[in-house]
Symmetry: C2
Subunit: 227 residues, 2 copies
DNA sequence: GCATATTTGTCCGTATGTATA
DNA sequence: CTATACATACGGACAAATATG
């Protein structure tokens, strides 16, 4: 999708939301967040204030408040006196993201006495549907949902938030991977295998597979980000 | 400290920072954050836009941007059309915060092959200095620094950020504990014991003590927050 | 390296909507 | 229920920083 098309879609998104949700700044942030997630705004793109005022139908002050929100979420980057840009992940970021994922996901899976197997298999099913439709970014999103389900079994609101944050950042990286199918498709099978192990009560086996999963995904993304 | 004194101090803080750091909104957020941490603004206090414009010497737009930042950090709460308030922790929040701390801190300590024993003992020493000065909130802060040192041994920027966030929220709770000395003083000794175990290479012993530490602190805070 | 155009950072005045005494 | 205080949001203005030719 071109940036022009993206900006064109803003009117619809903004108009629809404005009537239902909270403040103008939040609605604006929601719209921009969705746009970034869809790939309408790509990592490194400059986001000029002036160019969004009219399509979003908000004032500069409101737009700038929305920017602040997204900067805090690490979806946008703010360079003083130079503007805001869609965040570009570095290899260091990818490495760090996986460090945290490994720590949190492995521990969450190991200590959850009651893993949410339903949510896990639902995520796998959803991933298969996306795969059938050849929506590989959708597969990637479903895969992340699977891992969120693992963490959700701990039952902590803050841990869920942390995982949401990590997911959002990683998805930025997805947009920079060359061949989405080659990247996402295989992990669908591996998530299914982890769900299987869990369903059979083989938690340690599942943990082992999860560890290998994260190691491989990390290596693959790092390779793409250092090339 | 009264709210009046607090507002009075803003001019100095703001003036000093303004010249060194980034944008006005960030500087303003830094100032307000410090004020909240010091206890100049207490949980539940209403923060009226109008009353801060003059002492902070910023426009409404800038102040509102700063508010957004602090809301994201969970130090302020934003009630639409009613204003912003210093966040009030609930018992549920305390419970959740400790759930995440347990998961992260125990795992971090266990898997860190190279615990930063220096930073840990420095935090203990600092805590003892505060205790000698009978600054019990300072002791609490030093105690948190000790636990940050444990997590920092993982070497992840994001994990450090997460820990900073958890610490900031917990400190809000400190302000609502009745007897700061009774609450903080004893944990200083227990941190020292954990550092000792680590220095002797007894990681599993340290983990066990840390687990008990967190269980006890959680119970004690929960008791205060349900009463 | 310079002059110009663009964009950001900040402030102000004001109109409107909402909650509370 | 009215009045008042306050938050929300807009649009215009100008200085300062940055990008561009």
């Amino acid at each position: 999708m071109s940036v022009e098309d993206a900006v064109g879609r803003l009117r619809d998104l903004a108009g629809a939301r404005r009537r239902s949700h909270g403040t103008a700044a939040e609605v604006t942030a929601d719209t921009l967040r969705e746009l970034i997630m869809e790939g309408g705004l790509r990592p490194g793109d400059r986001v000029v204030e002036e160019s969004l005022l009219e399509p979003l139908e908000v004032s500069r002050n409101t737009l700038r408040e929305a920017f602040r929100l997204l900067v805090r979420e690490k979806l946008l980057e703010h360079k003083v006196n130079r503007g805001v840009f869609v965040r570009v992940l570095t290899a260091t970021d990818v490495d760090d993201l996986f460090t945290v994922r490994v720590l949190i996901e492995l521990t969450a899976l190991r200590r959850s006495r009651e893993p949410n197997w339903t949510a896990m298999t639902e995520a796998v099913a959803q991933g298969r549907a996306y795969a059938a439709a050849e929506d590989w970014l959708g597969v990637g999103t479903a895969n992340m949902r699977f891992h969120k389900a693992i963490v959700a079994s701990v039952g902590s609101a803050r841990l869920d938030e942390i995982m949401d944050q990590l997911t959002a950042e990683l998805r930025l990286g997805f947009h920079e991977m060359g061949d989405p199918r080659a990247f996402h498709e295989k992990y669908l099978t591996r998530n299914a295998a982890i769900a299987d192990a869990v369903s059979q009560g083989d938690i340690e086996g599942a943990v082992l597979q999860l560890q290998e999963y994260l190691d491989d995904a990390k290596s693959e993304m790092l390779a793409a980000f250092t090339a």
